[in-house]
Amino acid sequence: MKFLVYIETDSGDVVASSWEALGAALSLSDDVEAVVIGDKISVVTEEAVERGAKKVYVVEDETRALFDLERHLADVKNALEQCGADAFLASHTNNGRDLAAALGAEKGAGVIADALELGLEGDALKGVRGIYTGNILVDVTVDGSPQIATLRPRAFAPAEKGAGGDAEVVLMDPADVDSPYEVLGVQRAEKGEVSLTEASIIVSGGRGVAKDPELGFDLIRDLAGLLGAAVGASRAAVDAGFISYDHQVGQTGKVVRPDLYIAAGISGAVQHLAGMGSSKIIVAINKDEEAPIFSVANYGIVGDLFQVVPAMSEAVREKLGK
């Protein structure tokens, strides 16, 4: 089965979970090609080769620096046509989701969206995904050509560097389409801020910080900084204005999948668990030993987060020499 994998870029930088999509394809087939669309993407293109793509289709153009559904879709369709792939994979980022949905809807091809596992059944893709917000798992197959799947970030091992050989790089002209979207401004996340969906460690705060929210989140940020972690929050913390919505984890926030999730002052409502329940290790810091978060946690401390979180930072500094 021949795969085309979409390598997402943003202003020249690769979106790291794209390598997981490449890894998933390589685990299923030897015949894996990639398409990279963006501006100033030679480093990303080289990396796609290094990580094992057999051929890389490249659309490099100023108009491609930011994701544009119209333009990127047209480029992907061109690449698919040249490549003749049976299957198209992308990471289930917001842009990957939109791209796959537009492609599938146009071609009448099904999408295995937000897959947690991916395999082959004969000549067809077979995925596993969650429905009812992860409370039910199902096997999913799709009709149509190409077979399309988007993969949950951090659910698949990335393609490894050094796996590749000498691949052919095919430079393609940007598709000649008019975009209806005019970007008037771009605001970036603060430098050094780790993306929640890509983070391997997340430290989150909840309403438990209420007696001094500013100090509470400062303490959480300190610990996160030491660990190279992203900062998360419960909806109660967001709604109370302690921190912005970008940080919300859960049913109506982000779904995350870190190796380590530290929940400080979070009770563990089902809507919060919906966002972080598949973290590998969960740590709960809560002053109420009856809090439901302890029933999903691997480790816990019953105590005041205003004391425990700085003590953790102290211990990390000591033991990791930071």
Partner: protein, 256 residues
Amino acid sequence: MRYLVCIKQTPDTAELPKISPEEAASGKLSVNLVVNPWDEHAIEAGLQLMETYGGATGAVTVGDEGAIDALRSALAMGCKDATLVEHTDEVDAWGVAELLAGAVKHDGDVNVVLTGQMTVDGNSGAVPVALGRKLGWPVLTGVAKIVDLTDDSITVERVSGQARLTVKAPLPVVVSVIKEIGEPRYPTFINIRKAARVKVPVLTADDLGVEPPAPVIHMSNFRKPPARDAHVKLFEGSPQEAAAALVDALLEEKVL
């Protein structure tokens, strides 16, 4: 201006864990059904547009007769009209998008279609994009704020990866919103009473002149995810002692 909000009736999020594989496979749920929470934000966005720029906001859903309850909730929040597209045959995201596109065209006057970011049952997030492609309209997803609306364009702030973009697109347009767009308002008592009396128009695929495609996404082997094997290990002592022991345990787990 005419705004049309696409809403779906979905399980109360607190009850999602109670859904059994058998219920999920048959689609016959015994849990309490409400308006998909993301769609409440879409309704709020529609009402705010109506208040700021004038015009009328309607709601539409594809579902069975029971979904009229969700439409009544939209009316109670302040929507001016509501339409049920009654469809009980199995459809996937493309089928729903086809029916919604039919409803939008049938309405005839729509400038802005609003949707939620995703449903809490299907979790695909594919419908807004598919709807836009079927209508041939631009699609703005991840919209956190509507900055401006004119006779022929809309300007929004949307989240794209790690960046927040200010984007302008021509009307008509499909806009899918996130929670930041605004907290859904509570229905007023008067609106609830009025909504209960409204006769909600019911249309079928035939009425709309569309034939939704047969599903191309097939689900099988419905099951519960493996339970978390979580026996919490609690660390005791002073905060310093407990924290030190916890950090040791995390080092041992190789997650630090």
